[in-house]
């Protein structure tokens, strides 16, 4: 039985674990990691892109700003440099002028002049100039200008101040040289002493200058010594020549040959020759001058003799002569033997005095004589003198009245001369207005000349009186103004055209057709026809010259008491 019992056989039982899950999970793990890594990689890429994007944008904008800025800066550079160039040139001119102005008033021995100028004028101007530049390049331009100007003025001011000091030193030394030159010119024997003095003084002046440096000082000293001594020697030689043209120039050249060259020696020789001639000429001129002075003294003396010894009788208008007249007139000749005019003057005076003693001489005015005497009253070269009047009176060419009146004018004009083109031309105009000339037909206007002489005798005293009183009108000499003083004075002596022609032709012998002159209804005596301002007294039947005050009878003779 036992062999037939079959046991339960389950076969080979076993558990078989699977790795599917493990593999799946492990694969998932790798895939998950890969996914995350993929995302992370994308982010990394994005980070790089963002960085590049920002960097690129920044560089682009930055370079744009720089480019735009560079363009703006270039424009500003150009504008400021262009404008600055013009301003710089103006500033240079102004600074130069200010420095020159400073130099004009600067003390040559003040060594701080240049430093003060640079501190108070130059530096402020340069600072102000530099303030106007805002860009680096324009400021570099301005700095260049400033540095150049500063360097220029450093050099220039130092040189100018040195030169100024040198000039001042030379000027000071020149004064010494001039003084010493004058001394040796006056006294040539002091030449050696003067040379020593100059060398000592010039050296001291240069050495004591606070501004001059050693080189400039030595140069100035050398120049002063050489030129100064040359000047002294030449001045001394000139003085010697002037004192004695026959000096020994060879000896001078031997001793002072360093200071006189050959050309100058020849010049001195010629100067000596000229001096000799000059001395001779001077002697001649001295003689002439002596004679002229003697003539002047003779003239003055004659005036004094006349003034002292001749008076006018107010009643008769005739001169009264003191007996001393003759003696003093002769003394004039004795006191002025060198005066060429002594003899003729004395003779004229004596002739005149003699003519005054001749009571029978009834002189009347000769227009041909009165005219030059009147015209020459205003002559600057040869004015009418008392002697001229006496000579004419002695010859019977002018009346006593004319002599008296014109002599008064001569004296007044000596006190207040009326000479020169204004008076000459004015009197010519008055002459033309009163005297008919140049009409192209024979004849002459004696009446006009007589009127002109009377006008002068009448007008000049009025004019001089107003001049002295300070009441002279501005139009006093205006012949075109009918209200002027001269026109008013001319008025009584003016004639109509008919009268002027009649007077002109009357000198041919046809007789005057001019009506006799009257004052009121009384005809003026012919002897008084030349008196402009007459007053008639019907009671005494006498005439009175209102200018001179002389009284005449009805025939025109002076009335003596």
């Amino acid at each position: 039985m036992a062999g037939n019992i079959q046991p339960f056989d389950t076969g080979a039982l076993s558990l078989r674990p699977t790795e599917e899950g493990i593999n799946t999970v492990a694969g998932n793990a790798r895939r998950v990691g890969a996914f995350y890594n993929q995302g992370a990689g994308a982010l990394e890429g994005l980070a790089a892109s963002e960085k590049n994007a920002f960097g690129s944008a920044g560089r682009a904008i930055g370079s744009g700003i720089q480019a735009a800025g560079d363009a703006v800066v270039s424009k500003i550079d150009h504008d400021e440099i262009s404008h600055g160039g013009a301003v710089a040139s103006d500033m240079f001119v102004n600074l130069e002028k200010q420095w020159q102005d400073t130099l004009k008033t600067a003390d040559p021995n003040d060594k701080s002049v240049a430093a003060k100028f640079k501190e108070t004028v130059l530096q402020p101007a340069l600072d102000k100039f530099a303030e106007n530049f805002t860009t680096e390049k324009s400021q570099a331009f301005a700095d260049g200008i400033v540095n150049r100007y500063r360097q220029h003025f450093d050099t220039k001011t130092a040189a100018d101040q040195m030169e100024l000091a040198a000039v001042a030193t030379k000027q000071n030394a020149t004064k010494i040289i001039n003084n010493l030159s004058s001394a040796v010119y006056t006294d040539p024997s002091s030449l050696d002493t003067a040379i020593d003095t100059l060398k000592h003084s010039a050296g001291s002046i240069v050495d004591s200058s606070p501004v001059l440096d050693a080189v400039t000082g030595a140069k100035v000293k050398s120049e002063l010594n050489q030129k100064g001594v040359e000047a002294l020697v030449k001045s001394a030689v000139t003085g010697m020549i002037e004192k004695n043209p026959n000096i020994n120039l060879d000896a001078i050249q031997k001793k002072y040959g360093d200071y006189i060259n050959g050309g100058e020696l020849k010049m001195f020789q010629k100067a000596a020759e000229r001096q000799a001639k000059s001395d001779a000429l001077q002697a001649k001129q001295a003689a002439i001058l002596q004679r002229q002075q003697a003539d002047q003294e003779m003239h003055a003396g004659s005036n004094k003799v006349i003034n002292d010894n001749v008076s006018i009788d107010q009643q008769t208008g005739r001169p009264m002569i003191n007996p001393n007249f003759y003696k003093q007139t002769l003394d004039l000749a004795r006191k002025n033997p060198d005066a060429p005019s002594a003899a003729s003057t004395v003779r004229t005076m004596l002739d005149w005095a003699e003519s005054q003693q001749n009571k029978e001489l009834k002189a009347v005015d000769d227009p041909a004589v009165v005219k030059p005497l009147t015209d020459n009253l205003f002559s600057p070269d040869k004015p009418t003198t008392t002697i001229d009047l006496m000579r004419a009176r002695a010859k019977g060419q002018i009346s006593d009245h004319t002599f008296t009146v014109m002599n008064g004018l001569v004296k007044e004009l000596q006190e207040t001369p009326l000479k020169g083109p204004i008076y000459t031309n004015t009197m010519k105009a008055a002459h033309s207005a009163l005297v008919l000339t140049g009409v192209g037909i024979p004849g002459k206007d004696d009446k006009g000349e007589q009127n002109y002489a009377l006008f002068v005798q009448h007008f000049i005293p009025q004019y001089l009186a107003a001049t002295r009183a300070g009441t002279l009108p501005a139009n006093a000499l205006d012949v075109n103004d009918p209200k002027s003083m001269i026109s008013q004075a001319m008025e009584p002596f003016k004639r109509t055209v008919t009268q002027r022609i009649a007077d002109y032709t009357a000198t041919l012998g046809g007789g005057s057709t001019t009506a006799a002159r009257k004052v009121g209804d009384v005809p003026v005596p012919p002897a008084l026809g030349g008196i402009a301002s007459l007053q008639y007294n019907p009671t005494t039947r006498q005439w009175r010259d209102q200018t001179s005050g002389i009284v005449y009878d009805s025939a025109g003779n002076p009335v003596t008491k």
């Binding site: 492990a26 998932n28 995302g39 982010l43 590049n52 920002f54 930055g62 530049f133 805002t134 680096e136």
Partner: protein, 183 residues
């Protein structure tokens, strides 16, 4: 000072630096985010590896159980074989001695050998699963450590980005100041 090429050069440089600063910050942030993402991926991967390790460990247990079952079946088979042989000997009238006994002894030895072989095979399979579990565990740990490292790097990247952007901002500020200084 004065306006010059440098003025606008500085200005442009400042703008460039500003953009660089923003770019650097942005880039650093994105890089850090990328690292964070990688870390997350590593952590996720580590979790999967942990799961795989657990599954391998379960297989190891399954193998133990399977080996025990197989050994039990082998022992029953051996017993049944020897019992059969004893019955056969006894049925043949043989004493359990001599050859019969040798046969029984050999069967016993074969059974023991099969038993031992099953046991050793089970151990070998267990060891394989254990190694697999350990490997996944180590990979999970490595992934976690990597994640931690990436998180740290991300933080440092953010700091570096901040520092770089600060540098660029500072550069921009300095160039801006330089630009103003030239005016």
């Amino acid at each position: 000072m004065a306006i010059s090429d440098k003025t606008f050069g500085y200005g442009g440089g400042a703008v460039t630096d500003l953009f660089n600063a923003f770019g650097a910050q942005k880039s650093a942030d994105l890089s850090a985010e990328s690292l964070h993402l990688k870390a997350k991926g590593d952590l996720a991967e580590a979790a999967q590896y942990d799961l795989a390790s657990g599954l391998a460990s379960q297989n190891e247990q399954f193998t133990k159980t399977s080996t025990a079952i197989q050994q039990a079946q082998q022992a029953r088979s051996t017993t049944m074989q020897i019992g059969g042989q004893q019955a056969a000997v006894a049925g043949a009238g043989f004493a359990e001695s001599g050859s019969a006994l040798d046969i029984l002894a050999d069967s016993a030895r074969q059974g023991a050998l099969a038993q031992a072989t099953l046991g050793q095979q089970g151990l070998i399979t267990e060891a394989g699963y254990k190694e697999q579990a350990d490997s996944y565990t180590m990979m999970a740990a490595t992934a976690k450590m990597t994640a931690a490292g990436e998180e740290d790097i991300a933080d440092k990247t953010e700091s570096a980005g901040t520092f770089a952007s600060f540098g660029d901002f500072a550069g921009a500020a300095l160039k801006g100041a330089a630009m103003v200084a030239t005016l």
